[in-house]
Protein backbone atom coordinates (compact mmCIF):
# COMPACT_ATOMS: atom_id res chain seq x y z
CA UNK A 1 0.00 0.00 0.00
CA UNK A 2 1.15 3.48 -0.62
CA UNK A 3 2.65 5.15 2.47
CA UNK A 4 4.15 8.52 2.80
CA UNK A 5 7.52 8.63 4.25
CA UNK A 6 8.66 12.19 5.14
CA UNK A 7 12.37 11.39 4.88
CA UNK A 8 12.09 10.07 1.37
CA UNK A 9 9.90 13.02 0.49
CA UNK A 10 12.39 15.54 1.81
CA UNK A 11 15.28 13.89 0.02
CA UNK A 12 13.35 13.69 -3.19
CA UNK A 13 12.57 17.41 -3.05
CA UNK A 14 16.20 18.21 -2.22
CA UNK A 15 17.42 15.99 -5.14
CA UNK A 16 14.97 17.66 -7.49
CA UNK A 17 16.05 21.12 -6.39
CA UNK A 18 19.69 20.12 -6.71
CA UNK A 19 19.19 18.74 -10.21
CA UNK A 20 17.11 21.80 -11.13
CA UNK A 21 19.77 24.10 -9.83
CA UNK A 22 22.47 22.19 -11.67
CA UNK A 23 20.56 22.25 -14.93
CA UNK A 24 19.59 25.90 -14.47
CA UNK A 25 23.10 27.03 -13.93
CA UNK A 26 25.30 24.64 -15.83
CA UNK A 27 23.30 23.01 -18.67
CA UNK A 28 20.62 25.42 -19.81
CA UNK A 29 22.75 28.55 -20.32
CA UNK A 30 25.16 26.96 -22.85
CA UNK A 31 22.25 25.23 -24.53
CA UNK A 32 20.34 28.52 -24.68
CA UNK A 33 23.39 30.22 -26.03
CA UNK A 34 23.80 27.61 -28.76
CA UNK A 35 20.12 27.86 -29.58
CA UNK A 36 20.29 31.65 -29.72
CA UNK A 37 23.26 31.52 -32.01
CA UNK A 38 21.52 28.98 -34.17
CA UNK A 39 18.42 31.15 -34.22
CA UNK A 40 20.46 34.19 -35.13
CA UNK A 41 22.21 32.26 -37.89
CA UNK A 42 18.90 31.06 -39.22
CA UNK A 43 17.42 34.54 -39.01
CA UNK A 44 20.47 35.95 -40.74
CA UNK A 45 20.23 33.26 -43.37
CA UNK A 46 16.58 33.99 -43.81
CA UNK A 47 17.30 37.69 -44.12
CA UNK A 48 20.10 36.98 -46.59
CA UNK A 49 17.84 34.69 -48.47
CA UNK A 50 15.14 37.35 -48.55
CA UNK A 51 17.66 39.92 -49.73
CA UNK A 52 18.96 37.54 -52.36
CA UNK A 53 15.46 36.79 -53.44
CA UNK A 54 14.69 40.49 -53.75
CA UNK A 55 17.99 41.00 -55.56
CA UNK A 56 17.26 38.10 -57.85
CA UNK A 57 13.80 39.44 -58.46
CA UNK A 58 15.29 42.81 -59.23
CA UNK A 59 17.85 41.26 -61.56
CA UNK A 60 15.16 39.17 -63.14
CA UNK A 61 13.03 42.25 -63.66
CA UNK A 62 16.01 44.08 -65.09
CA UNK A 63 16.80 41.15 -67.33
CA UNK A 64 13.21 41.01 -68.37
CA UNK A 65 13.22 44.74 -69.08
CA UNK A 66 16.43 44.35 -71.03
CA UNK A 67 15.01 41.42 -72.91
CA UNK A 68 11.93 43.45 -73.61
CA UNK A 69 14.14 46.30 -74.81
CA UNK A 70 16.17 43.91 -76.91
CA UNK A 71 12.99 42.50 -78.37
CA UNK A 72 11.76 46.00 -79.10
CA UNK A 73 15.14 46.91 -80.61
CA UNK A 74 15.12 43.75 -82.66
CA UNK A 75 11.60 44.52 -83.78
CA UNK A 76 12.66 48.10 -84.56
CA UNK A 77 15.70 46.89 -86.48
CA UNK A 78 13.57 44.41 -88.35
CA UNK A 79 11.00 47.09 -89.13
CA UNK A 80 13.74 49.51 -90.19
CA UNK A 81 15.34 46.83 -92.34
CA UNK A 82 12.01 46.03 -93.92
CA UNK A 83 11.26 49.72 -94.44
CA UNK A 84 14.77 50.35 -95.84
CA UNK A 85 14.45 47.30 -98.05
CA UNK A 86 11.16 48.61 -99.32
CA UNK A 87 12.66 52.05 -99.85
CA UNK A 88 15.64 50.55 -101.68
CA UNK A 89 13.34 48.46 -103.79
CA UNK A 90 11.30 51.56 -104.61
CA UNK A 91 14.48 53.54 -105.31
CA UNK A 92 15.81 50.81 -107.59
CA UNK A 93 12.49 50.57 -109.31
CA UNK A 94 12.32 54.36 -109.72
CA UNK A 95 15.91 54.47 -110.96
CA UNK A 96 15.28 51.63 -113.37
CA UNK A 97 12.18 53.42 -114.61
CA UNK A 98 14.13 56.66 -114.95
CA UNK A 99 16.90 54.90 -116.87
CA UNK A 100 14.33 53.21 -119.04
CA UNK A 101 12.65 56.57 -119.73
CA UNK A 102 16.01 58.23 -120.45
CA UNK A 103 17.09 55.45 -122.79
CA UNK A 104 13.67 55.46 -124.45
CA UNK A 105 13.82 59.26 -124.89
CA UNK A 106 17.37 59.06 -126.24
CA UNK A 107 16.40 56.33 -128.66
CA UNK A 108 13.34 58.31 -129.71
CA UNK A 109 15.55 61.37 -130.25
CA UNK A 110 18.08 59.27 -132.17
CA UNK A 111 15.33 57.84 -134.30
CA UNK A 112 13.88 61.29 -134.90
CA UNK A 113 17.36 62.62 -135.74
CA UNK A 114 17.99 59.67 -138.06
CA UNK A 115 14.66 60.28 -139.73
CA UNK A 116 15.47 64.00 -140.05
CA UNK A 117 18.99 63.22 -141.34
CA UNK A 118 17.55 60.78 -143.84
CA UNK A 119 14.99 63.32 -145.06
CA UNK A 120 17.66 66.04 -145.15
CA UNK A 121 19.95 63.72 -147.03
CA UNK A 122 17.22 62.91 -149.53
CA UNK A 123 16.34 66.59 -149.85
CA UNK A 124 20.00 67.53 -150.29
CA UNK A 125 20.51 64.76 -152.80
CA UNK A 126 17.44 65.76 -154.79
CA UNK A 127 18.41 69.44 -154.60
CA UNK A 128 21.97 68.61 -155.71
CA UNK A 129 20.61 66.56 -158.61
CA UNK A 130 18.29 69.40 -159.62
CA UNK A 131 21.18 71.83 -159.32
CA UNK A 132 23.45 69.64 -161.45
CA UNK A 133 20.73 69.19 -164.00
CA UNK A 134 20.12 72.94 -164.15
CA UNK A 135 23.83 73.63 -164.47
CA UNK A 136 24.20 71.08 -167.27
CA UNK A 137 21.17 72.43 -169.11
CA UNK A 138 22.39 76.00 -168.67
CA UNK A 139 25.98 75.24 -169.71
CA UNK A 140 24.84 73.41 -172.81
CA UNK A 141 21.86 75.47 -173.82
CA UNK A 142 23.01 79.04 -173.18
CA UNK A 143 23.68 80.86 -176.43
CA UNK A 144 26.50 83.44 -176.65
CA UNK A 145 23.88 86.19 -176.63
CA UNK A 146 22.25 84.82 -173.51
CA UNK A 147 25.64 84.52 -171.83
CA UNK A 148 26.40 88.12 -172.71
CA UNK A 149 22.98 89.19 -171.41
CA UNK A 150 23.71 87.47 -168.12
CA UNK A 151 27.11 89.17 -167.92
CA UNK A 152 25.53 92.56 -168.61
CA UNK A 153 22.87 91.92 -165.98
CA UNK A 154 25.52 90.96 -163.44
CA UNK A 155 27.61 94.02 -164.23
CA UNK A 156 24.54 96.17 -163.65
CA UNK A 157 23.95 94.40 -160.33
CA UNK A 158 27.56 95.14 -159.47
CA UNK A 159 27.17 98.77 -160.45
CA UNK A 160 24.11 99.04 -158.24
CA UNK A 161 26.00 97.89 -155.17
CA UNK A 162 26.70 100.55 -152.57
CA UNK A 163 29.61 98.71 -150.97
CA UNK A 164 31.35 95.32 -150.93
Amino acid sequence: MFTFEPGVGIWSVLSFLLVFFFLQHFVYPPMRKILDERRKTIEFSLEESQKNRIEAKKLFDQAEDQLKGVRQDAQQILSDAQRRGKELENEHQARAMEEYRTIRNEKQKELAQMEKDFLDSVENHVAALVLQACQKILSVDLTPDQKEQIIQKRIKELENLKAI
Binding site: L131, L138, Q146, K147, I151, R154, L158, E159, I164
Partner: protein, 176 residues
Protein backbone atom coordinates in the same frame (compact mmCIF):
# COMPACT_ATOMS: atom_id res chain seq x y z
CA UNK B 1 66.42 82.15 -162.11
CA UNK B 2 64.88 83.04 -158.79
CA UNK B 3 66.96 82.95 -155.70
CA UNK B 4 65.16 83.80 -152.50
CA UNK B 5 64.45 82.40 -149.05
CA UNK B 6 60.94 83.80 -148.69
CA UNK B 7 62.39 87.26 -148.79
CA UNK B 8 59.21 88.39 -150.44
CA UNK B 9 60.54 91.87 -151.11
CA UNK B 10 63.47 90.34 -152.96
CA UNK B 11 61.02 88.15 -154.86
CA UNK B 12 58.98 91.20 -155.87
CA UNK B 13 62.11 93.09 -156.91
CA UNK B 14 63.34 90.14 -158.94
CA UNK B 15 59.98 89.76 -160.65
CA UNK B 16 59.79 93.48 -161.38
CA UNK B 17 63.33 93.41 -162.69
CA UNK B 18 62.46 90.68 -165.13
CA UNK B 19 59.01 92.11 -165.89
CA UNK B 20 57.31 88.92 -164.72
CA UNK B 21 55.15 90.29 -161.93
CA UNK B 22 51.92 90.22 -163.91
CA UNK B 23 52.54 86.69 -165.10
CA UNK B 24 53.44 85.58 -161.58
CA UNK B 25 50.24 87.03 -160.14
CA UNK B 26 48.19 85.55 -162.94
CA UNK B 27 49.82 82.19 -162.17
CA UNK B 28 48.93 82.43 -158.50
CA UNK B 29 45.26 82.83 -159.47
CA UNK B 30 45.60 80.10 -162.10
CA UNK B 31 47.17 77.79 -159.54
CA UNK B 32 44.34 78.48 -157.09
CA UNK B 33 41.89 77.60 -159.84
CA UNK B 34 43.79 74.41 -160.71
CA UNK B 35 43.84 73.43 -157.04
CA UNK B 36 40.15 74.14 -156.77
CA UNK B 37 39.09 72.33 -159.93
CA UNK B 38 41.43 69.33 -160.02
CA UNK B 39 41.47 66.56 -157.49
CA UNK B 40 45.01 65.85 -156.29
CA UNK B 41 46.63 69.27 -156.34
CA UNK B 42 45.93 70.09 -152.72
CA UNK B 43 45.83 66.42 -151.70
CA UNK B 44 49.34 65.73 -153.04
CA UNK B 45 51.19 69.03 -152.77
CA UNK B 46 49.89 70.12 -149.37
CA UNK B 47 50.18 66.76 -147.67
CA UNK B 48 53.17 66.76 -145.32
CA UNK B 49 53.41 62.95 -145.51
CA UNK B 50 54.10 62.81 -149.25
CA UNK B 51 57.76 62.89 -150.32
CA UNK B 52 59.39 65.83 -152.09
CA UNK B 53 60.21 63.66 -155.11
CA UNK B 54 56.56 62.65 -155.54
CA UNK B 55 55.46 66.27 -155.21
CA UNK B 56 58.05 67.46 -157.74
CA UNK B 57 57.00 64.71 -160.15
CA UNK B 58 53.34 65.62 -159.70
CA UNK B 59 54.17 69.30 -160.23
CA UNK B 60 56.06 68.69 -163.46
CA UNK B 61 53.45 66.29 -164.83
CA UNK B 62 50.29 68.15 -163.85
CA UNK B 63 50.90 71.84 -163.24
CA UNK B 64 54.08 73.01 -164.96
CA UNK B 65 52.45 73.17 -168.38
CA UNK B 66 49.77 75.56 -167.07
CA UNK B 67 52.02 78.08 -165.31
CA UNK B 68 55.02 80.26 -166.09
CA UNK B 69 58.62 79.38 -165.31
CA UNK B 70 58.97 81.83 -162.40
CA UNK B 71 55.95 80.56 -160.54
CA UNK B 72 57.00 76.98 -161.28
CA UNK B 73 60.45 77.70 -159.81
CA UNK B 74 58.77 79.29 -156.79
CA UNK B 75 56.68 76.18 -156.21
CA UNK B 76 59.71 73.91 -156.73
CA UNK B 77 61.64 75.83 -154.12
CA UNK B 78 58.76 75.60 -151.64
CA UNK B 79 58.65 71.83 -152.23
CA UNK B 80 62.44 71.50 -151.86
CA UNK B 81 62.28 73.35 -148.53
CA UNK B 82 59.25 71.36 -147.38
CA UNK B 83 57.33 74.62 -147.06
CA UNK B 84 54.71 73.98 -149.71
CA UNK B 85 52.23 73.26 -146.91
CA UNK B 86 52.50 76.97 -146.00
CA UNK B 87 51.81 78.01 -149.60
CA UNK B 88 48.54 79.79 -148.85
CA UNK B 89 50.10 81.80 -146.04
CA UNK B 90 53.19 82.73 -148.06
CA UNK B 91 51.26 83.70 -151.18
CA UNK B 92 48.77 85.68 -149.12
CA UNK B 93 51.63 87.64 -147.52
CA UNK B 94 53.23 88.08 -150.94
CA UNK B 95 50.03 89.55 -152.42
CA UNK B 96 49.50 91.80 -149.40
CA UNK B 97 53.03 93.08 -149.67
CA UNK B 98 52.67 93.62 -153.42
CA UNK B 99 49.37 95.45 -152.88
CA UNK B 100 51.13 97.77 -150.43
CA UNK B 101 54.10 98.26 -152.76
CA UNK B 102 51.90 99.09 -155.72
CA UNK B 103 49.16 100.71 -153.65
CA UNK B 104 46.49 98.68 -155.39
CA UNK B 105 44.30 95.63 -154.98
CA UNK B 106 44.65 92.37 -156.92
CA UNK B 107 41.29 91.16 -157.99
CA UNK B 108 40.57 87.78 -159.51
CA UNK B 109 37.58 87.62 -161.79
CA UNK B 110 36.51 84.09 -162.76
CA UNK B 111 34.09 83.56 -165.60
CA UNK B 112 33.08 80.73 -167.93
CA UNK B 113 34.69 82.44 -170.93
CA UNK B 114 37.15 85.33 -171.10
CA UNK B 115 35.28 88.64 -170.83
CA UNK B 116 35.78 91.27 -173.53
CA UNK B 117 37.81 94.37 -172.78
CA UNK B 118 34.74 96.64 -172.50
CA UNK B 119 33.12 94.47 -169.86
CA UNK B 120 36.41 94.11 -167.96
CA UNK B 121 36.86 97.88 -167.97
CA UNK B 122 33.32 98.43 -166.69
CA UNK B 123 33.82 95.92 -163.91
CA UNK B 124 37.24 97.35 -163.02
CA UNK B 125 35.87 100.87 -162.94
CA UNK B 126 32.94 99.82 -160.73
CA UNK B 127 35.17 97.91 -158.34
CA UNK B 128 37.61 100.81 -158.11
CA UNK B 129 34.69 103.02 -157.25
CA UNK B 130 33.39 100.58 -154.64
CA UNK B 131 36.75 99.85 -153.02
CA UNK B 132 38.10 103.40 -153.46
CA UNK B 133 41.33 101.83 -154.58
CA UNK B 134 43.10 101.27 -157.86
CA UNK B 135 43.22 97.62 -158.78
CA UNK B 136 44.62 95.01 -161.11
CA UNK B 137 41.91 92.81 -162.53
CA UNK B 138 42.83 89.28 -163.60
CA UNK B 139 40.31 87.40 -165.63
CA UNK B 140 40.58 83.64 -165.33
CA UNK B 141 38.20 81.08 -166.78
CA UNK B 142 36.66 78.10 -165.10
CA UNK B 143 34.38 75.40 -166.40
CA UNK B 144 32.63 75.48 -163.00
CA UNK B 145 31.18 78.91 -163.71
CA UNK B 146 28.05 78.59 -165.84
CA UNK B 147 26.86 82.15 -166.20
CA UNK B 148 27.96 85.47 -164.75
CA UNK B 149 31.24 85.78 -162.87
CA UNK B 150 32.93 85.45 -159.50
CA UNK B 151 35.06 88.21 -158.00
CA UNK B 152 37.69 87.59 -155.32
CA UNK B 153 39.30 90.55 -153.58
CA UNK B 154 41.63 89.12 -150.95
CA UNK B 155 39.41 87.24 -148.53
CA UNK B 156 36.21 88.78 -149.91
CA UNK B 157 34.20 86.92 -152.53
CA UNK B 158 31.42 88.40 -154.60
CA UNK B 159 29.46 85.64 -156.27
CA UNK B 160 27.53 86.87 -159.30
CA UNK B 161 27.20 83.50 -160.98
CA UNK B 162 24.11 81.55 -161.97
CA UNK B 163 25.20 78.82 -159.55
CA UNK B 164 24.73 81.27 -156.74
CA UNK B 165 21.16 81.91 -157.91
CA UNK B 166 20.59 78.17 -158.13
CA UNK B 167 22.03 77.69 -154.64
CA UNK B 168 19.66 80.35 -153.33
CA UNK B 169 16.84 78.58 -155.12
CA UNK B 170 17.93 75.31 -153.52
CA UNK B 171 17.80 76.85 -150.06
CA UNK B 172 14.39 78.32 -150.79
CA UNK B 173 13.18 74.91 -151.95
CA UNK B 174 14.56 73.28 -148.82
CA UNK B 175 13.09 75.92 -146.57
CA UNK B 176 9.62 75.65 -148.08
Amino acid sequence: MLNFQYNLKELIETLEEHGETDEFIRDTFRFNLLADENFGVEEVLFDAHISRESKLKFLSETITSHIGSSFNAFLEQLIQNDDIVFYQLIISKFLNLLEKEKDCLFVELTSAEPLNRANLDRIKHTLEHLTRNSLYLYNSTSKKVVGGFLIKIGERVLDLTLQNDLEKLKFKLKAS
